[in-house]
Every structure is written in structure tokens, then in C-alpha cells.
């Protein structure tokens, strides 16, 4: 099993909500954030409740964050890189879709 050795692995720094997060090369964003005491990764747009990593293996989709402007990324499946900008997410991406007209056909 691959292990991260804090003594030999390279150090990385990325941003989470404009704060610096220090971690080791090879760590996922989720593990780095959890190790730094961050456990609210997103706010559910369905219920409004706070969410964080649950499965840590790419299945539950509760660790979704915005990475370098791209939302809905799985923090547990993506390794941290130097200089990444990671943000909490509170609504799904719009992909630039316009507001839809409602009720015109009813």
C-alpha cells in the first residue's frame, strides 16, 4: 500500500476559501482539508445542510468542491497541487444556462 511519508514527501500549499492549506505531495484535497480541520466542503442546495467527505472513495459525492473555477469536483478523488484554488460550493453549476421561462405553457 502506498503511504505518504511526511518526512520525505514534498510539501505543497493550496488555497481553500482564501486560506493557505499545507499538505504533502500525494494527498487528496479531501484528506488535506480534513487534516487541516476543515470538514464543511459544501452546502447542500437541496436541504441547506453542511456536507463533508463521507466515503473518501469517490462514491458518495458529498465532498464536492469548486476547484480553479470548476464546480462539482470530488475532493476525495483529486490530488492536491501547488497553487490550486479550492472553494466551498453552495449551488450546482449553471454552465451558463439562461434563466428559464416558467409557466408559459401551463
Amino acid at each position: 500500500m502506498r503511504r505518504i511519508n511526511p518526512k520525505t514527501n514534498k510539501k505543497l500549499i493550496f488555497q481553500f476559501e482564501n486560506q493557505k492549506i499545507n499538505c504533502n505531495e500525494g494527498e487528496t484535497i479531501a484528506s488535506a482539508l480534513l487534516a487541516s480541520g476543515e470538514n464543511i466542503f459544501r452546502i447542500s442546495h437541496q436541504s441547506g445542510s453542511a456536507r463533508g467527505p463521507y466515503c473518501m472513495m469517490g462514491v458518495c459525492f458529498d465532498c464536492l468542491v469548486e476547484i480553479d473555477g470548476t464546480p462539482n469536483r470530488q475532493a476525495c478523488m483529486i490530488r492536491a497541487r501547488n497553487g490550486m484554488e479550492v472553494r466551498r460550493q453552495s449551488k450546482p453549476p449553471s454552465l451558463g444556462f439562461s434563466e428559464i421561462a416558467k409557466g408559459d405553457l401551463k
Binding site: P92, P93, G96, I100, L105
Partner: protein, 369 residues
């Protein structure tokens, strides 16, 4: 667990659970026998439409049956929510079919006019490209128009399956999971349904085992000629709402996931996925809404529809073994309300609704196997 029941329903998919819930809510004592996770489970790969547009255009009993179910769907949704406290994600915003060429639009229109001829309550309108763009400015350049009917709706099919099972259990119904029925035999005035590990006795038996109905039916004199027809589906990440209607090739769930489908492939018992079909469906989706090009795909899957020779449902009773009924259809979501209310009410009196007599097996008797 006790082993004597009024009714034993074989199959815990959308058809079996809808009928079982309907019977149990009338005060019967019903058992559902559901197979294990190795079963084919069409109910778990469903797209989730309550689709009226065009159904039964050339076969009025199916049109009426579909209509009666669509009309009862709000009641079913309300009742399940009241009993279980769980939402179904049901709504009836109407179905909007995007069209990419005039020939397709005309063929659809002709079909809907045929449907309207025997189902006058059914209404629809043709929308030109400009009207579609007014409703949804992000529609692709290749879309020439659309057909809209207020009759169609959609639901989260997994919530529905869970809801029917939960409502059945709230009403006191019994479920046996992970057991495969190996035989059905007459036992005095009852029927004995055997699995590998147990025997259950019922006065009435309903075969709702999807593709498994072929084998089960053959053993009790019902020739249920179903075969698998594969459909593949793409599911994207959750997006903000941009398509608020039901449609046969795209729908957006209450939570925002976009589902794109749907293929019709005769490939036998193979619920896999293929690159060529995925490519075709992605192309359709991005032609409809070019901004979807940037959407992340979360899952893809294939599932096997339960298809009859003419595509219409089968409802029949064994002549050899009265009280054993067979039900097979590929519209388990659309027909769920008809199954829970209209069909169950008749089965409660140990018969089939008269409207379903044209859907007996006898219609295939002159056709080759």
C-alpha cells in the same frame, strides 16, 4: 414468518410492488417475493417518465389505460408521501419533445392526432423554433420545433420503487427478499409457491417477475412471450434547472441531474453499455443543448426493458390455474397508479378489469413464436 396469504406477488419491481401495495391497502394479506441482487431489475434502470404522448395511438385500450394511470398519479404520489413521509420527486409539467427535422415532427403530429381520435381528452400543441427559444433560450441551432402535451409527467423512479415498498409495509404487507421462486403448484384450494428455502401458500398468485415471467408463466399455462430490450442512459452532475419538462430523450431530476437516453437494442440478456450508443446519445444531448458539452458525466448504465411482441402490456389469467395472473409491461412507472388502484381493485375480486381484456395473451395466438 407465517406462510399463508391471500395473495402472493412474485416480483418486487415497479409492477409487483404497485400491485401488492394496491391489494394490501384494500385490506388483503399480501406477500411480495423479491429475487436477490443478481436479478435483472428493470425497475432500477428506469428513466422515470409518466408518458402519455403517443402511447396507444394505434391501440385504444392501451391509450385509455395509460390515460387512467396518468390521471391517478397525483393521488398515488400524495398517498405514498402521506404513508411514508418520503418524497417521490413527482411532477406533471407536461412533455416537451424537441424535434430536429420536419419529417420527424410530422410523424409525431400524425401519431398524436391518431391518439386524439380515440382519446379526446388528450391535447397537444406544436411549437415552432421561436416559441421553443422563448421558453428555453439555450436550445441548439438544429432544433426546428417541439411538440408539447400537458399530459406527461415524471418522477424519480428509485424513490417510487422505495415508496411503493415502504407504503406496502406500512399497510402491513410482507416482503421476502433474496428468494427465487422455483415452482408454483396447486395445493388443495390454494397455491403453493416454493423457493429454495421456503414454501408459501396463497389463494391468489400474481406473476410480476419481469423477464422471469416467461419461465414462471410456462409452468402454469401462461405463454408470456417477453424479451429484453436494452436501453442505455447517461447521467450528468447536478446542474441548475434549465429543462423543466418531461421528455423521452432528456429529463432533469428534481435535484438537477440530467438524464439522457434512450436506446432500444435487442442484445439478449446483456445490460452493459457501449461507446457507440453513448456517443450517439451525447451528440443528441449537446445538439439539443450545446451548453451540456461542458457537463460532467457521473454515471452511465444499461438496463433491460421487459418487452412484449407488440410492445403493449400483457394482463391475463391462467385458464388451467384460475387465480394465477400474469402481468408484463415496460411501462411500470407510467402504469404504477393504474396498477395500484384500478388493477388491484379488480384483482381484489379475483378478476381482471374489463378494459384489459384486449391485452390478454390470446392476441398473439396467430403470431409465430
Amino acid at each position: 414468518m407465517k406462510s399463508f396469504f391471500d395473495t402472493i406477488v412474485i416480483g418486487g419491481g415497479l409492477v409487483g410492488s404497485a400491485i401488492a401495495f394496491g391489494l394490501q391497502r384494500l385490506g388483503t394479506n399480501t406477500l411480495v417475493i423479491d429475487e436477490g441482487d443478481n436479478a435483472l431489475r428493470a425497475a432500477r434502470g428506469n428513466f422515470g417518465l409518466i408518458w402519455v404522448q403517443g402511447k396507444g395511438a394505434d391501440f385504444s385500450p392501451y391509450a385509455h389505460w395509460t390515460w387512467s394511470s396518468a390521471e391517478a398519479w397525483q393521488t398515488l404520489s400524495d398517498e405514498i408521501i402521506e404513508l411514508t413521509g418520503s418524497k417521490l420527486g413527482y411532477s406533471r409539467p407536461g412533455g416537451l419533445e424537441l424535434c430536429f427535422d420536419e419529417k420527424d415532427l410530422k410523424a409525431r403530429k400524425d401519431k398524436l392526432l391518431r391518439l386524439q381520435a380515440h382519446q379526446p381528452n388528450f391535447t397537444f400543441e406544436i411549437l415552432g423554433r421561436n416559441s421553443v427559444c422563448d421558453l428555453m433560450p439555450d436550445v441548439g441551432d438544429k432544433v426546428i420545433g417541439a411538440i408539447y402535451s400537458p399530459a406527461d409527467g415524471h418522477v424519480n423512479p428509485l424513490y417510487l420503487l422505495r415508496g411503493l415498498h415502504a407504503a406496502f409495509q406500512v399497510k402491513g404487507g410482507a416482503t421476502k427478499n433474496g428468494e427465487t421462486v422455483i415452482s408454483i403448484k396447486k395445493d388443495g384450494a390454494r397455491y403453493k409457491v416454493e423457493t429454495k428455502t421456503s414454501s408459501y401458500f396463497g389463494e391468489q398468485v400474481i406473476l410480476a417477475a419481469g423477464l422471469g415471467n416467461k419461465k414462471l408463466g410456462a409452468s402454469i399455462g401462461l405463454d408470456i412471450r417477453v424479451k429484453p430490450l436494452r436501453g442505455q442512459i447517461i447521467v450528468t452532475e447536478r446542474l441548475t434547472k434549465f429543462f423543466p419538462y418531461a421528455a423521452t430523450q432528456i429529463r432533469q431530476s428534481e435535484e438537477g441531474s440530467v438524464m439522457i437516453g434512450v436506446s432500444h437494442e435487442e442484445v439478449g440478456i446483456d445490460d452493459g453499455t457501449t461507446a457507440d450508443v453513448m456517443k450517439k446519445m451525447s451528440k443528441w444531448g449537446t445538439n439539443a443543448f450545446p451548453k451540456l458539452t461542458k457537463a460532467q458525466v457521473i454515471r452511465i448504465w444499461g438496463a433491460l426493458r421487459v418487452m412484449t411482441p407488440d410492445g403493449y402490456p400483457i394482463y391475463d389469467e391462467s385458464k388451467q390455474y384460475p387465480g394465477i395472473f400474469g402481468v408484463a409491461c415496460h411501462s411500470g412507472v407510467t402504469l404504477a397508479a393504474a396498477h395500484s388502484y384500478h388493477l388491484a381493485a379488480a384483482l381484489f375480486k379475483n378478476k381482471l378489469p374489463r378494459i384489459l381484456s384486449p391485452m390478454a395473451i390470446e392476441r398473439f395466438n396467430n403470431a409465430p413464436h
